[in-house]
């Protein structure tokens, strides 16, 4: 399986996605349904906005003391009997995981959801080294069988219809052909994965929160797959970005109240597991991964994107995400939050993403940790243009526009000419070279601009 195909720009991928309008409608409605559930449950908590403010402040404090909290966490985790590893980048992270597995002669592993391992391309790396990885989150297992990356950080196969999943399961798990009932398919996956859990000696999990004060980490799932894997394995490896630290255990109250409500509209995930010490005869490892985060931290305009708790609410609410699909963002983390995190990792590859937004601001409003997502999108646009990643044609047209709009006389003339063209030679703009015209009529062009009207109808004191 390879996720590293040639990158297709968001707009082009979105155009392909939009060829099947019925599917776009379905995708949009499914995600909007989750946004509505999020609204309903968050509106039922009187202190909701206060909780967001607390969460934001706690995360601001984390970012401002991150090196201290990381060291505190490390010391406490070691005291608890956990082995702590540090990875500067994706390659080092993958190598550390590989080394641990090799030490134990393990060539098959279960893995619960971890967007960080997606970011690092761990599955591909391990598979190339002859190690089998089975993703145990149902949605992740589905996309893994389909040889696709997840399209959403919380709902990995939200882009797939049950009939397609039925087809995949028929092929890989031997379910009945044509069967697409979610209950039937889930039961089949349960059976298949239960056998897997019982036979794997290593389990990798993600981390939702790591508590500096206690050295414990919390993993949230609805399925119980992280626990099934971790508790039955000889080796538990937990991988986390360095920004997942929170100062104190009591702060979990704020984040656990916000996380599931924001993500899926549930009051809490079914399981919020607190791992403090390994079981007897078990090894527990934590890999702390930087992979660009410490650089991101230094960018004042953009650092607070590191407050993200990966709830996915900004994706569910984003009108563009809902109508372009997660894969159009060509990254492990899609949607608005992906569009402000990924330019830091690879500006050239991700230069299109901050433009894949109308800057409507809904993302900022649903964000449980109050990241100013749409303002950062605007700021990334400026940086991307300054760094020279704007398309040449756009640069040229913007230069012309800047020139026209800075001169009242040229502006008047250009306006008049444009209106004349629309009235008299509409074929110049009403054609397929004009993207506006593809699905929209051009505005009617009046003979007189307002300025011209004003000059004849009001007294002018110049």
């Amino acid at each position: 399986m390879s996720h590293t195909k040639n990158t297709i720009a968001h707009a082009d991928a979105a155009a392909v996605f939009n060829k099947d309008e019925a599917r776009v409608n379905w995708h949009d409605k499914t995600l909007w349904f989750i946004r509505e559930k999020r609204d309903k449950i968050s509106h039922s908590i009187d202190e909701w906005e206060q909780l967001r403010e607390y969460a934001s402040q706690i995360k601001n404090n984390v970012l401002s003391n991150l090196s201290e909290y990381l060291q505190q966490f490390e010391a406490n985790a070691i005291t608890n009997g956990i082995t702590v590893h540090w990875a500067a980048d994706a390659a080092e992270h993958n190598a550390i995981v590989h080394r641990i597995l090799k030490q134990h002669n393990i060539d098959r592993m279960v893995k619960s959801k971890s967007m960080l391992t997606e970011e690092c391309g761990l599955n591909e790396y391990l598979e190339a080294s002859g190690i089998e990885v089975i993703d145990t989150d149902l949605g992740e297992r589905i996309v893994q069988l389909a040889a696709e990356p997840p399209s959403h950080i919380v709902l990995p196969c939200i882009h797939k219809k049950k009939e397609e999943i039925g087809e995949l399961f028929h092929e890989h798990l031997g379910t009945e052909k044509g069967a697409s009932d979610p209950e039937y398919l889930t039961a089949a996956a349960r059976q298949h994965l239960r056998e897997t859990f019982l036979t794997r000696r290593a389990a990798l999990t993600g981390v939702n929160f790591a508590v500096a004060e206690t050295g414990e980490f919390v993993v949230c799932t609805n399925e119980g797959n992280a626990d099934m894997g971790a508790h039955l394995a000889d080796v538990h490896i937990a991988c986390m970005g360095i920004e997942k630290i929170i100062p104190q255990q009591q702060h979990l109250s704020v984040f656990l109240r916000l996380l599931a409500r924001s993500a899926t509209g549930q009051p809490i995930t079914t399981y919020s597991s607190h791992f403090k010490k390994p079981q007897p005869q078990q090894q527990m490892h934590i890999v702390l991964v930087d992979n660009g985060r410490s650089i991101h931290l230094g960018k004042e305009d953009f650092r607070n994107a590191l407050k993200c708790i990966r709830c996915g609410a900004c994706m569910n609410t984003c009108p563009v995400y809902r109508r372009s699909g997660g894969h159009s963002y060509h990254n492990a983390v899609a949607g608005p939050i992906g569009s402000i995190l990924t330019p830091n990792m690879d500006m050239k590859k991700n230069a299109d993403l901050p433009f894949a937004s109308t800057l409507c601001g809904s993302c900022t409003n649903v964000c449980p940790v109050k990241i100013d997502i749409h303002d950062q999108l605007y700021k990334w646009r400026q940086v991307i243009v300054q760094e020279g990643y704007a398309p040449t044609a756009k640069k040229a047209s913007m230069n012309v526009m800047g020139w026209v709009l800075s001169s009242p006389k040229i502006y008047d003339m250009a306006g008049k000419a444009a209106r004349w063209t629309l009235r008299n030679t509409p074929f110049v703009v009403n054609n397929k070279l004009n993207p506006w015209f593809k699905e929209r009529e051009m505005p009617a062009a009046p003979k007189q601009s307002f300025k011209e009207w004003y000059k004849t109808n009001r007294k002018i004191h110049e």
Partner: protein, 244 residues
């Protein structure tokens, strides 16, 4: 009170009737309104595309045009927000700082400054109100559905003063229409789809007109309605408030 009328470039060129309605409406409420003739554009098209640095001349021109008034009023939430947030010149003058605080979108000016309680307007139609994102989430003209906070709507309260007007309830009261400035051409597919979905919400609820405090959204929605040969029309809120 001396009010400068700030008319966005595309309204000036394509929708002069919106500017006329805005002018007449403000005059009805006793404002002394001037239209600085050398105005062009707020610079947002460049800035939102990442070319903020190319809008410097535009900004200087704006400061030149709009200094020395009590208020600056515009029938556009989006352009107003842009001035409020991004009007910066190299000289960092006090004038630009003042302009950023003096600039108002039309409906917020009517509600917050003129404190309008009644209107003489008549508009006997079913109207769907489109919330432009910059007006709503940027200028807080209406409460946002994402927040757990008390509802209110400045444009809505004005429309409720119009005789005969019936506001329709939408399934998604504040979903973006997909115009998004240059987004409407650089992301044509998604932009058009968002517009079609917005239009459908209003049409399903039998709106005769879609109105908004931003003409750019309406221009986009109008393009779609016309292509669909829909009976539903668009109208700027200033035209409704100035009607009859």
């Amino acid at each position: 009170m001396n009010v400068a009328l700030f008319i966005p470039c595309y309204i000036d060129q394509f929708y002069p009737q919106v500017a006329i309605a805005t002018l007449q409406l403000l005059e009805k409420f006793g404002c002394k309104v001037s239209y600085p003739l050398k105005q062009t554009c707020c610079g947002q098209p460049m800035a939102n595309s990442g070319f903020e640095h190319l809008s410097t001349a535009c900004n200087e021109l704006f400061v030149e045009n709009f200094s020395g008034y009590d208020y600056i009023v515009s029938p556009s939430g989006s352009c107003t927000l842009h001035i409020k947030e991004h009007l910066h010149t190299a000289r960092h003058t006090q004038a630009e700082e003042q302009i950023r605080t003096q600039v108002y979108e039309l409906t917020e000016f009517l509600v917050d400054v003129l404190k309008v309680q009644t209107l003489q307007a008549k508009f006997p139609y079913k109207v769907g109100m489109h919330q432009s994102c910059h007006g709503q989430r940027g200028l807080h003209l209406s409460q946002m559905t994402e927040l757990n906070a008390a509802p209110f709507s400045k444009p809505g309260s004005l429309l409720n003063m119009v005789e005969g007007l019936e506001l329709v309830t939408l399934d998604r009261p504040d979903e973006c229409c997909g115009f998004g400035g240059t987004f409407c051409v650089t992301e044509e597919a998604v932009s058009a789809k968002m517009g079609k979905d917005r239009v459908a919400d209003h049409v399903t609820h039998k709106a005769d007109y879609i109105t908004a405090a931003d003409m750019s959204c309406l221009m986009h929605l109008e393009g779609i309605l016309k292509r669909q040969k829909s009976a539903t029309k668009i109208i700027h809120i200033a035209e409704i408030l100035n009607a009859g």
